[in-house]
């Protein structure tokens, strides 16, 4: 499987994602420059973490108008798998490919530590290899991860089961103390209604080798590969 990693000016987890795919997962990865107009023959797109355009105006607000975003939107519209990690999640929100918005962390502090996450929805191409209610240990590192959605959007998220990950205690309880940033309902990751676009604040690519302290990120990447293989020899954008 070929993963395309979109590099924006200010991306800084692009190489982490590249290594996780090549070494942690053993699959192909290539970088795509934000000025590219086409994606080539990639099977899955990753919008990596970082500070695209210095987070000027709002995190992701300017990157979302990068030339490549037209092709990203079209890829998503046709059902291609798109994974947005941290700043990539923020870009997907700004682009309207996922519902909601990000606010500054409630405590106004940058948080950088491992968190526990409960898998709320296993019925996605990104989580289907997880066990029911599995707790993942992944690191977060962000200043604007305070997920917000208006009441109508929140109702939609809950009714359609679009909340994929929530911050929890190590034993899986959803508590205020387990919430590192004040995110609404402890939401750490959401998908779109079609289930092919997924954004999350934690970094699965930084939990892809024992030496990093966790390999739980591989549940997400392996789920992607397994879903792509199920799609009759891999999904191709026509």
């Amino acid at each position: 499987m070929k993963f395309g990693i979109v590099v924006f000016p200010g991306s800084n987890c692009d190489h982490d994602a590249y290594r996780a795919i090549r070494e942690g997962l053993g699959e192909e990865a290539r970088f795509l420059w934000h000025k590219d107009q086409s994606l080539g023959d990639v099977d899955c797109l990753i919008l990596p973490g970082g500070f695209s355009y210095g987070d000027y105006l709002r995190a992701g607000a300017i990157a979302r108008f990068s030339p490549i975003m037209g092709a990203v939107t079209e890829f998503a519209r046709r059902g291609g798998l798109v994974l947005g990690i941290c700043n990539g999640f923020q870009i997907l929100l700004e682009a309207g490919l996922l519902p909601g918005a990000m606010l500054r962390n409630r405590a106004l502090k940058f948080v950088c530590r491992f968190v526990s996450l409960r898998v709320e929805n296993r019925n996605t191409p990104f989580t289907h290899l997880c066990r029911p209610g599995q707790i993942l240990k992944l690191p977060v590192k962000h200043g604007e991860g305070n997920y917000f959605a208006d009441p109508d959007t929140l109702r939609l998220l809950q009714e359609r089961d679009l909340v994929v990950l929530r911050y929890c205690t190590p034993s899986g309880e959803i508590t205020v103390d387990a919430n590192p940033n004040g995110a609404l309902k402890n939401i750490a990751g959401v998908c779109n209604e079609a289930g092919n676009v997924f954004g999350l604040m934690p970094h699965p690519e930084n939990a892809s080798a024992e030496i990093l302290g966790s390999v739980d990120g591989l549940f997400i990447f392996r789920s992607i590969v397994s879903s792509l293989k199920k799609r009759s020899d891999g999904y191709q954008v026509a």
């Binding site: 105006l57 607000a61 300017i62 909601g100 918005a101 606010l103 500054r104 106004l108 959605a149 004040g182």
Partner: protein
Amino acid sequence: MRARVFVTLKRSVLDPQGKAIQGALETLGYPEVEEVRVGKVIEITLKDGERSAARARLEEMCRRLLANPVIEDYRVEFEAEPSGARETEPTSAKDPA
């Protein structure tokens, strides 16, 4: 022609920066402060032209880029003309608060 765009968090959205500043002001001896909300001011210089057309364009800029309508309201103000005339009106339709 110069315009100012004010971008603020919607009333329904918690503003942690505002809360922190309010706490600091209380510490400094300003207990009368009831609420602080932090926003952005964006100054934009435009090629001279008709003001109503400019306003429509500025509002479009707000909707497309300058504000995120999920969490923010915006307001466009033109800088005072030499005559001292000033035009101000709230423009965010969704959540006037």
